[in-house]
């Protein structure tokens, strides 16, 4: 198995690295198999504002189309609501990750355990760390880092894409699952 370098170069993780999301079909397939997916949206703190805006549009649209439960961390709740999607919860990302590591958690919407989680928009180091917590504490959970940066701690991640490439991927995924 060969893998790219983490976006923050030093944030390597050990022996197991995320698989690369090579195309929209990967995401679509993951979604198709998932019984109860969750999306955790952070505050896009370090992103260029314009880019962050487009990114939020894209992933919230995806969540809507795919009927994914939503947790927004902190102020991200406002961004979601602006886009017409009310998050199912506003618990802190840390709290959310901890609960996800409990296979008996009733889920953010009370509809039972989640088997797949998309994470996007947290500070890189924090997302990397929470993904690590899930890799270690929730071995059965599939984690997808949805940012354009490679996140080795996830089960699946994009491989340091340019913003426009990434946008294209997400939109295409939305189209694919919409069919």
């Amino acid at each position: 198995m060969t893998r790219p370098a983490p976006w923050q170069t030093a944030e390597t993780c050990g022996t197991r690295q995320a698989g690369i999301i090579k195309g929209p079909q990967v995401l679509a397939a993951l979604l198709k198999k998932a019984r109860h997916p969750l999306m955790l949206v952070g505050n896009q703190g370090s992103r260029d504002p314009e880019e962050a805006d487009e990114a939020l549009n894209a992933v919230i649209f995806l969540a809507q189309k795919a009927g994914i439960s939503l947790v927004a961390s902190g102020k991200a709740v406002l961004s979601c609501r602006e886009r017409g999607l009310s998050p199912d919860s506003t618990i802190p990302a840390t709290d959310c990750a901890n609960r996800l590591s409990d296979p008996a958690w009733a889920g953010v919407d009370g509809k039972g355990p989640h088997d797949l989680v998309f994470i996007i928009g947290l500070p890189y180091g924090m997302e990397w760390t929470l993904l690590s917590g899930l890799k270690n504490g929730a071995p059965a959970l599939i984690t997808v880092a949805l940012d354009r940066y490679y996140h080795p701690q996830a089960s699946w991640s994009f491989a340091n894409l340019a913003h426009h490439e990434w946008l294209e991927m997400i939109s295409e995924t939305t189209r694919v699952i919409g069919r």
Partner: protein, 789 residues
Amino acid sequence: MVLLDRNTVYLEVQEVETDAARIKDLRVTIGGIRGLAPAVPRGPMPMPGPGTLRRWDRKLLSRYRPFYMPFCELCCLCTFGKCDLSGGRKGACGITMNAQQSRIVLLACCIGAATHTAHAREILDHIVSRFGERHPLDTGGSQIDITAPITRLVCGFEPQTVGDLDRALRYAENQITQLLAATHTGQEGDYLDLESKVFHAGMVDHLGMEIADISQVSAYSFPRADADAPLVELGMASVDTKKPVILVVGHNVVPSVGILEYARENDLLGSIEVTGICCTSLDLTRYSEKAKIIGPISWQLRYIRSGIPSVVVVDEQCVRTDLPDECRAVRAPVIATSDKNALGLPDRTGDPADEIVEDLVSGRVTGVLLRDPDIVGEVAVKTANHVFEKRKGITAIPPGESVTASAGECTHCSFCQRACPAELPLVEVIREAGAGDTGALASLYDLCIGCGRCESACPRGLPLHSFIISASCERIRDEKFSIRSGRGAISDVEIREVGGPIVLGEIPGIVAFVGCSNFPRGGSELASMCREFARRRFIVCTSGCAAITAGQYRNDEGKTLYEEFSGKFEAGGVLNVGSCVSNAHISGAAIKIAAIFAKRELDGNYEEIADYVHNRVGAVGVAWGAMSQKAAAIASGFWRLGIPVIVGPHGSKYRRMLLGRADHPDDWKVNDARTGEEVCIGPVPEHLFVAAETAEEAMVLVAKLSMRPNDTTRGRSIKCTHYIDLHRRLYGTMPGDIHLFIRNPADVPLTFKDEIWAHLEAHGWKEQPVPDPTLLEPKGRRVKGGKPK
């Protein structure tokens, strides 16, 4: 006269006659014991060992369970390694991933506790040698009866003199050794037992901090629980660059005192500037209002590169290890002063001062190690005076034109950006600078934490941090603030006044902003958090770099926090307690509320006092920019008292959180102290250690985590008001979990009454009694497993 080992025994005998001895003028001093009255440690658990408080710790840990976030899947602590611990694998020693993570946390906390304790040892030994071991402890004159709350709580005796502290310090050194041993391969293997030892390390850390601070306060006449401690100057622009400038960096004020003393004795105080970064500067301004604070840890590169400091004196802790190189680049002689941080410099302690000065001034040596604070004083002042003229005009910050030209050499490879812990958009910014516009560079000034990783990563060797500083020179010219110098302890009088309102919940909480503020926007976010909670009539404490950074931002009227708010321990006060070691006064205040206001037995009575603090005192720690092992140890000391700590997003890098589960009602059942019956207290405080993603999230969490099981209805209603208010303002909605915090109709805040009732009904809310909660076993009941020794 017989003078024994200074740290243990002082024995004086003027005349002896043996055989059924006759002795005249016998004076025996043993530790802090004068005459023949021994301070026998008192209380149920004086000087607890690493396992003594295990039952208490496990109570907390069963509710606030560790969530581990490994930094790495491998362990490499011994030559069996690397061992792969991923996917449930065990190491060659049998260890699991969870235990390995808690072992690393323990290691970090041992380092942190050792750092404060070793620092306390240096200060204490120095003070004892200067002022005598019988120098009285005084942290607040008649205002303070409980001088050393942590020492008394942990060790079970009451120190009266600096000499008395030795015994407590020896206990700390002993415990650190035991705890560190537990991290050895093939020692502690249970992750909860390791976490319990983490708590123990934290408790010892606070003890070490207390010893360090109360001895320096007593010896150097720092402000003593002084709400009106003087305002001192802060910021690069506060320096008078027409004078020779000495910079002191680090945490141990002793050599810096040597500098001020020498200057004073030689009438040079008016003709030099003594400036500092980090805790040494905080403590130096407690010693003398003449000293100036430049900024927190992240100001090291920018200030030294500016060329302003003529001489740089480093002591210990949080000092960039490359300062000698940085100083060499601007031809500023450097003086190391600590065995713990010798930096490879030649030891010239034994040489005549003038010879050393000559060598430094001529550049024959670029730095020296001086292991005596008096010599440091003389050499630093003389050298500064001598090099001042020679160094004029030297700076390592490139001028604007040169930035533009160099930026043109950038290949946009993005290595700098991918190395930046603050995730700054360096590639874009350098592109614009190359095109002649350095505005974007300047916009990073507040975000850049001066770590230099970008520069180190750049294949073209571009000094990006210096570029940012160069582009921000206007901004820096304006960097002149004021900060109240560290006040030290909280007085007994203050505790008595606020004890009631705090325990009853009328003062909604005590928020302590501590730690290193070296993360993007750390400073401005911190200042706005302080302001928010001071305005909400919380008691706001600051310390260390957080205290400095919080002072770097002004309100609309141009006032810093310290000018805007009172320095008293009262609703709406903003108190700079002092340097990192002054953090002990914050935990000390919580302990004193239990001891003074609630009259709980203090000496050696950790469990009961912690149970009190956890259930009744709405204190919350915020370490927004926590970076160091010391910060980890400080947090652990709060955890063991049951006080929650919030960290910034980077704080997730401490590898584990301690999180409660609001959705598990069973976790929140406790005994009622009055009835002995099991009662449900709701998720308060919900977490013990949690990383917040943004300052907004942290603020909502502070409001929430300041709730306590024992809040009066009036207090709970006030706390809920703040929680709801912040949640609505920042997230736009009523908090979805508010029903968990309303116990009965009287808890409901009036302002949001209807909304809340609707919410309560929707969530099938039922009224609950207000309990008198305790995590302790009811007294007198036989406990299976027996009492820990």
